[in-house]
């Protein structure tokens, strides 16, 4: 038999052809409320999906219950709202959690959600050893890119280590954290930055675990083996594949050299992938289908750089939430790739390629230098607190945008070949997009209210007090959180208890000292208008860039802040998660000439209304413009409320945006 063994095929020990098992097919999903999401999951599983990837709504991610005032506009919008164990009971109804591989995209409140999962398992009599899955729990990327952090870096890291300690002993198949470079690429990271920032984060986590000194050497190795990664695959797919190979090699080196891990299987770089959403366009959105396919190739094509799990965005994600059909289409792509093609039958098809090898080498060398820089600085936590990593990302992002603006970076349908026939996919009665029924929040609120009345109030109070005391004493918080879960404590109550002890974190915005690399005619036109404004009014135009609500994707706001400064504006930008009241207060106190809002969560209508109410309170007539993922069907309502201009991902040209803004305030300068 062995004589017939073919080098180019994967075979089993008997020499029979044996293709690789496919990766886990997931769909990042969750919306409206626990009941609707449960139905969606069961449908997806019946369609051949092999794992769950739960998307939580922003209040759940930020540690607020649905009945908190800041939650109201966001309930059920970008994921499922989870207030207490009651919601988990509904969410996993008729789903055998002991057979699932459940990934939870949750960070600031990951300990809480894992506690709920454990409480649910215990209630169902499922042995904890059977629980399989991942809590994302990468706070560093939250501080850098996504914004759903709650506590300061040190305390957040302490919570992560608590979860490692608990999981290793009680839920050995659980991945307590998942180092997530996905959002770094979304925030503009280059492959080198993705490599170095993610690995520096993993080093920070492992160093913290080592420092806790709660494991034997053997347990520590297992711990290293539990670290998984969540990576982004972009459109430059050859480079992306090399990035994945570099990741694997560097992780092998780090775990051997820095942590002396002896067991080979614990040194394996285990990772899941969601392909890039940043590059998806609102213009000619049907092109996104091809982009998604090509991006998938980078992480599936070669065996040495093949992901363990894959989730694909939908073709229409740049427009709004995808419909169930759109998600199904993405799932089908994975199935075609895995089951129809011969992809899984071969060993690594790029092994020995000079091009690939030297590209990997180059990436590794650069990334190593960068990691050393961060370690010399004091590690990833210090590089967060001093703003280094954030400012590097904002820099990369401005460079990327400058290149799109100058057409150096071609994006088909956006800055090249922009004329085309309108997509028939968009002509359905729903306009090709999905909207959450605003009334569905009632259901969530009812479940919450009922859970609160039904629970033993004394027991809930006691478990919260014990949690707080444990936090003050520096104990492992997992058992106390599970006790809270069983006592039907709510998400907001759990998070508040720890807010009391740890405080809330307010990181650097990364925009200080940033420069745009734009100096074309458009820039001089805008600067000319700014100078004219300054001359006429005696002072520079002043813009308040506001990022209201719980949506922490601040790239857009940061780019506008940097562009406005580049144009000669005085810019007030105070970071994310502001209330409309705070934004208006800034604009009023600063006597701003214009307010620019950035909202990506789909809550624009509610927030804009709150904002205009607040402006009315101060009798302030300040023009307001808005940017974000806003469907055209909402334009009219927003304009009726008083919004002067609406920018969507279509408006990628920063100087055109600034040009419109300066025109608005020049025609009608704010009366002083």
């Amino acid at each position: 038999m062995s004589a017939e063994k073919k080098e180019y095929l994967l075979v089993d020990e008997n020499g029979q052809g044996k293709p690789d098992k496919p990766w886990i097919f997931r769909t990042y999903a969750g919306h409206t409320n626990a009941k609707a999401s449960n139905e969606l999951y069961r449908k997806n599983l019946s369609k051949g999906q092999t794992g769950l990837s739960i998307a939580f709504d922003l209040p759940t991610q930020c540690g607020y219950s649905s009945d908190h005032e800041v939650s109201r506009p966001e309930i059920g919008k970008v994921g499922v709202p989870i207030n207490s164990l009651e919601d988990f009971r509904i969410l996993f109804d008729q789903i055998p959690i002991e057979e699932m591989n459940t990934s939870m995209t949750i960070n600031g409140t990951s300990m809480w959600l894992l506690s709920l999962y454990v409480a649910l398992a215990e209630e169902r009599g499922v042995p904890l050893e059977k629980l399989n899955g991942t809590t994302q729990n990468d706070l560093i990327k939250e501080y850098l890119a996504r914004g759903t952090y709650i506590y300061p870096p040190k305390e957040s890291m302490k919570i992560i280590v608590d979860m490692y300690e608990y999981s290793l002993h009680k839920i050995p198949k659980w991945n307590p954290s998942n180092i997530c470079s996905y959002h770094l690429q979304e925030a503009g990271a280059t492959p080198v930055q993705e490599l170095s920032f993610a690995l520096a984060t993993a080093i920070a986590v492992l160093d913290a675990i080592k420092e806790r000194n709660c494991f034997t050497a053997e347990e520590f190795e297992q711990c290293v083996g539990r670290i998984s990664f969540f990576v982004n695959a972009g459109i430059r797919f050859v480079e992306e594949m090399c990035k994945m190979r570099a990741f694997t090699e560097m992780w092998e080196e780090i775990t051997t050299e820095r942590y002396a891990v002896k067991t080979a299987k614990y040194r394996v770089f285990r990772y899941g992938v969601q392909v890039n959403s940043l590059g998806l366009t609102e213009e000619q959105p049907e092109n996104n289908a091809w982009r998604i396919l090509i991006e998938s190739l980078g992480v599936t094509l070669s065996r040495n750089a093949r992901c363990r799990a894959l989730q694909l965005p939908a073709w229409n994600e740049a427009l709004s939430l995808p419909r169930p059909w759109d998600q199904q289409w993405s799932l089908r792509l994975q199935q075609v790739l895995a089951y129809e093609t011969d992809l899984l039958e071969y060993p690594d098809i790029f092994e020995g390629s000079k091009v690939i090898e030297s590209k990997v080498k180059a990436l590794k060398e650069e990334a190593k230098l960068e990691i050393q820089k961060i370690i010399d600085m004091g590690g990833a936590l210090v590089a967060i607190e001093n703003g280094y990593m954030k400012s590097q990302l904002v820099k990369s992002q401005t460079e990327r945008l400058s290149k799109i603006n100058s057409n150096e970076l071609v994006i088909v349908g956006k800055n090249k070949w922009t004329d085309g026939i309108k997509s028939p996919l968009m002509t359905d009665s729903d306009g090709g997009i999905f909207k959450v029924d605003p009334k569905s929040a009632e259901q969530t609120l009812n479940v919450l209210a009922e859970a609160k009345t039904r629970r033993n109030a004394e027991a809930a109070k006691k478990s919260l007090e014990e949690l707080k005391q444990a936090a003050k004493d520096g104990k492992n918080l997992m058992p106390f959180s599970i006790a809270c879960a069983k006592a039907l404590v709510t998400t907001g109550e759990w998070a508040d208890a720890l807010r009391d002890v740890y405080g809330e974190y307010n990181p650097p915005t990364g925009v200080d000292g940033q420069k745009l690399f734009l100096s074309d005619d458009k820039v001089s036109t805008v600067r000319g208008k700014v100078e004219a404004f300054t001359k006429a009014n005696g002072h520079r135009p002043k813009i308040v860039v506001g990022k209201p609500g719980l949506d922490g994707h601040s790239n857009g706001a940061e780019m506008i802040a940097v562009s406005a400064k580049h144009s000669g504006f005085d810019v007030i930008y105070s970071g994310i998660r502001l209330s409309p009241e705070e934004i208006v207060q800034s604009a009023v106190e600063e006597n701003a000439n214009v307010i620019g809002l950035s909202i990506l969560s789909g809550s624009h209508k509610e927030i804009v209304k709150q904002l205009f109410d607040e402006l009315a309170h101060y009798k302030a007539k300040i023009p307001v413009v808005i940017g974000g993922i806003i469907p055209e069907s909402d334009f009219e309502d927003l304009r009726a409320m008083g919004i002067r201009e609406i920018f969507t991902p279509k408006d990628y040209d920063l100087m055109s945006i600034m040009n419109k803004i300066i025109d608005i305030i020049t025609v009608e300068p704010v009366l002083v």
Partner: protein, 329 residues
């Protein structure tokens, strides 16, 4: 635009009540170029509506970037609301401008979380407009206005060279904020600015032993220059930590109980001198000195130690402008 006397008087009376938007509009107007006329009417109106010359205390806060000034101010605000329930405070935070586009990013609000709609606190950012000295050309007048409305006016500036200490010239009480063991002690001595601030803050004292060693280092450094300090006494040194919430209450109490006011005539003279030098150079100064009717002249001649009644800034400015224009003709 503020065209009529009536609307200005309305604006001023609303501002005196602490209403944010009118205050904001007045500041913008002060920050506008060629605002002499507006200032004249504004301060005239203020003296009509608030004739008693009781003014707020001006507190200058300066120090190197990264010393944590804004976070410290944020914590001061929080405690202020708690410990001074019947007082009002304003903050003017000055950030650097871009030297390419002239624009700026004013990010200091990030560190100061203010309660909404509370008229007891007011925060205003100001771009430095590339002026040396860390102050904006209009800062002085903005502060002069704000201290009519607020009990306390904080001015925060970045920078720590000789030029960046101008803030102490226009404040009653100025602080230099440092980090523990910044290694800058020697630099301070060299640059000779140790004698300028009224008090020192070692911020970020999150760790006891480091804080103490920095405290003693600073103290011994100050001992060196004791002889040239006013009254030959060492200025107070505060150890603060925002994360540990330590020492800030003491700092606030010190500020709340600070009675001394600097001589406003001197302040006015300093500011006028600086303005003339900026606008007309030494030639301008020499013309001002020649001006017989100059209050400055009178002040210097008759009473070199001050003690005369308040100078009227705008009146003096107008005199200077007209005499300079005559000279030019």
């Amino acid at each position: 635009m503020i065209d009529t006397k009536e609307s200005l008087s309305q604006l001023v009376s609303d501002a005196l009540l602490g209403e944010k938007y009118p205050i904001a509009k007045i500041i913008s107007k002060i920050e506008t170029e060629k605002n002499l006329e507006f200032r004249e009417s504004l301060f005239h109106e203020l003296s009509l509506q608030k004739p008693d010359f009781k003014e707020g205390l001006t507190i200058g806060i300066t120090g190197t970037p990264g010393a944590g000034k804004s976070s410290l101010l944020g914590e001061l605000c929080r405690l202020f609301l708690e410990f001074a329930p019947d007082k009002k405070m304003a903050i003017v935070a000055i950030d650097p401008s871009s030297n390419v586009s002239g624009g700026s990013i004013l990010g200091d609000r990030t560190r100061v979380t203010l309660p909404r709609r509370d008229i007891r606190l007011y925060f205003r950012s100001q771009p430095s407009q590339l002026e040396l000295g860390g102050l904006n050309p209009y800062t002085y007048h903005v502060i002069r206005f704000l201290r009519r409305v607020f009990d306390y006016v904080f001015v925060e500036t970045v920078g720590i060279g000789q030029n960046e200490i101008s803030v102490s010239l226009i404040s009653d009480l100025s602080f230099l904020v440092m980090q523990p063991l910044g290694g800058d002690q020697v630099q301070f001595m060299k640059s000779g600015i140790m004698e300028v601030p009224e008090a020192f803050i070692i911020n970020k004292c999150d760790e006891e032993s480091l804080a103490n060693s920095s405290y003693y280092m600073l103290q011994s450094t100050l001992e060196f220059i004791k002889d040239i300090l006013p009254n030959h006494t060492l200025p107070p040194i505060f150890k603060t930590s925002v994360t540990k919430r330590k020492g800030i209450e003491e700092l606030l109490q010190y500020i709340l109980h600070y009675e001394k006011r600097k001589d406003k005539n001197e302040e006015t003279l300093t500011q006028l001198t600086q303005w003339i030098r900026n606008e007309y150079g030494r030639w301008g100064i020499s013309i001002w000195e020649e001006l017989e009717s100059s209050k400055w002249n009178q002040a210097v001649k008759r009473n070199p130690l001050g003690g005369i009644h308040k100078l009227k800034y705008e009146e003096e400015e107008r005199k200077i402008i007209s005499s300079i224009q005559t000279k030019i003709k």
